[in-house]
């Protein structure tokens, strides 16, 4: 039974006893059976959140103070100033490692603070000496200096800062794919920590935040770094990325119920659906070969090796999840994971009639929604039915907008979809199910 339910039960027990519904002994036995409610975990989380938020705010505040650029100060004073916050941050972290190595809150907060102070220090020096150039070198130096803290202090927020940092760094090289592709090896540096955190504490807020940030950063980083030799390949790459996130989310977080705790899955599903809808739009296929940007360096052949290797690995992983789910007869999961396969087929036939991919993806979304609805009816799950109806509804509405049907028919179609939603829900609630 959940903690919340036990809490509720304990609140009710005295009432039940006083009204004679339950004997005192029975109530005592219930208490004995369920035991004390452990609130310590919750308190600990609150302490960690407060500590980390405090460290984050103070750290950012110091960065802003230094950014003011106090020109009255001599270069010597400024040099001292740029080391002071850094040394304080290091001192705090050192003290925590020596005296409080067991405290997650202390470790997380001090590592976060130190991570920011390293950036503050380099930033102030860049400012003092008017160091030129793009933010690229600055960010990379900063990130490489803080990433060991992730492991030494088992801290996840520095990993989050690092991930955002290397994504920004890759963005700096958006027109230089040979540099941007290094995003992937850089990202791999924090993977062991991520896997460790998933294994150890699947329920905590910090793994949720980390997974969320990573999923978003990978989506952005891929855009800067992959598929540069192969115009239009984003169709396959992004389909595969979201299929992989979806597949990982279903694995790593198996046994969890709340969607909020499954960020990989959530982002995976949203990405898959968004892309599937995008692929039903004509202009995507019309302009598939067009590149709107100019790269500063051409990539081809051996220089594109890393790009090709990573792209291939992502596609292979997506195919593995698809195969695995199909083998285990998980129809819905396999169906969601089938997007990259469809993307590959339609991409390879892109020279043909545009109607072909449009038809495929409309059919795909239609089947997906029907399967969701059917599954929902079988399991008596309102959430599944509504998500299926939502997909179906959006599909109908989108199609109605881009076709030449008059307003009366469009209006009627909207009403029909709306009524469908209401009726299904009412019927299900009446049935007494509707979990």
């Amino acid at each position: 039974m959940g903690k919340r339910a036990i809490k509720w039960l304990y609140q009710e027990l005295p009432v039940l006893v006083s009204k004679g519904v339950l004997a005192q002994e029975a109530a005592d036995r219930l208490r004995e059976y369920y035991g004390e409610i452990k609130d310590a975990g919750k308190k600990m989380t609150a302490v960690i959140i407060c500590g980390v938020l405090g460290a984050l705010l103070i750290g950012l505040g110091i960065i802003l103070l230094l950014a003011h650029n106090w020109e009255e100060f001599s270069r010597f004073t400024r040099a001292i100033l740029s080391f002071l916050p850094l040394l304080i941050g290091q001192g705090l972290a050192f003290w925590v490692l020596c005296k409080r190595p067991q405290s997650h809150a202390f470790k997380e907060a001090s590592a976060t603070f130190l991570s920011l102070m390293v950036g503050a220090s380099i930033a102030l020096i860049s400012q003092t000496y008017n160091i030129h150039g793009t933010a690229g070198t600055f960010i990379l130096t900063w990130m490489l200096l803080i990433v060991p803290l992730v492991y030494l202090m088992q801290a996840s927020l520095p990993a989050v800062i690092y991930f955002i940092g290397i994504t920004a760094w890759a963005g700096n090289y958006w027109n230089d794919p040979l540099m941007a592709v290094l995003f992937w090896p850089l990202a791999a540096v924090v993977m062991p920590h991520f896997i460790w955190a998933l294994r150890k504490e699947i329920y905590t807020i910090r793994t949720t935040i980390m997974a969320l940030v990573m999923a978003i950063c990978v989506s952005i980083g891929a855009g800067f770094s992959l598929g540069k030799t192969w115009s239009g390949s984003w169709i396959i790459i992004y389909s595969s990325i979201y299929a992989v996130l979806f597949g990982l989310g279903n694995r790593a977080f198996k046994g969890l119920t709340s969607n909020w705790q499954r960020p990989l899955r959530i982002i995976g599903v949203l990405g898959i659906l968004f892309l599937a809808f995008l692929f039903t739009v004509r202009f995507v296929w019309q302009y598939i070969g067009a590149d709107y940007y100019r790269l500063s360096r051409e990539v081809s052949g051996s220089t594109a090796f890393l790009d090709h290797l990573i792209t291939f690995a992502i596609i292979a992983l997506a195919m593995f999840f698809l195969y695995d789910n199909a083998r285990r007869k998980k129809l819905t999961l396999a169906l969601f994971g089938a997007l990259p396969l469809l993307a590959i087929i339609t991409y390879s036939l892109r020279g043909q009639e545009i109607i072909f991919p449009l038809f495929i993806f409309n059919a795909y979304l239609l089947i997906l929604s029907l399967v969701r609805i059917k599954e929902g009816i079988r399991n008596n799950s309102l959430a599944a039915i509504n998500s299926g109806m939502l997909i179906l509804g959006i599909l109908l509405i989108v199609r109605f907008f881009d076709s030449d049907i008059n307003f009366i028919l469009k209006g009627l179609a909207f009403i029909a979809v709306g009524v469908g939603f209401l009726v299904t829900n009412v019927v299900l609630v009446r049935r007494g199910g509707g979990r």
């Binding site: 960065i63 230094l66 950014a67 003011h68 650029n69 106090w70 020109e71 270069r75 040099a79 740029s82 080391f83 850094l86 040394l87 290091q90 972290a93 050192f94 490692l97 020596c98 190595p101 130190l114 390293v118 950036g119 220090s121 380099i122 930033a123 102030l124 020096i125 860049s126 400012q127 003092t128 000496y129 008017n130 160091i131 030129h132 150039g133 933010a135 600055f138 130096t141 200096l145 060991p148 803290l149 030494l152 202090m153 500063s296 360096r297």
Partner: protein, 188 residues
Amino acid sequence: MRKQLIIGLFVGVALAQIVTPLSMITRRESVLQTGEQFKFKVAPVDPYDAFRGRYVALRVMENKVVVASGTKLDFGQRVFAHIAVDEQGFAKLSGVSTVRPQGLSYLEATVVNPGRGGGTQAMLKLPFDRYYMEEKKAPLAERIYQRHARRGKEDAYLTVRVKDGFAVIEQLYVGGKRIEDAVRDAKE
């Protein structure tokens, strides 16, 4: 044992975190103390850098150089720009090479536009593009420069110290005054 290892590694990381900024400082201080001084004409504009604060963005006027025949440059290539001084005492680029020149003053620079081979002009990006100022003063500094520029006096210049191809900005001048002084006078 494990705790000691972690603390030992942490001390190593902390040292790297100190040595990196320290080496940034010492390298530049050494150039400022012993480097050769040049004056570059510049045109300032005013943007903003979220982390490092406000700065006056600088466009160096003297950024074109004639490529010697036989030298071929590529876009984005690192090159060495040779510096000479004109009659008015300002720095100008007298040549460009792909290897470190001997017995000449030079700067490391990046090729922005390689030109069309020997004899034509190439455009370089010199390693100074910003001058940091207090947040309220940077826009004012830009306005002061614009006022000067309108009167036909494009007299902003930058003093730069150069040593072994490495350049460090010393001071920005507008109308013969340090920019900080010009801003202070304008406020009064």
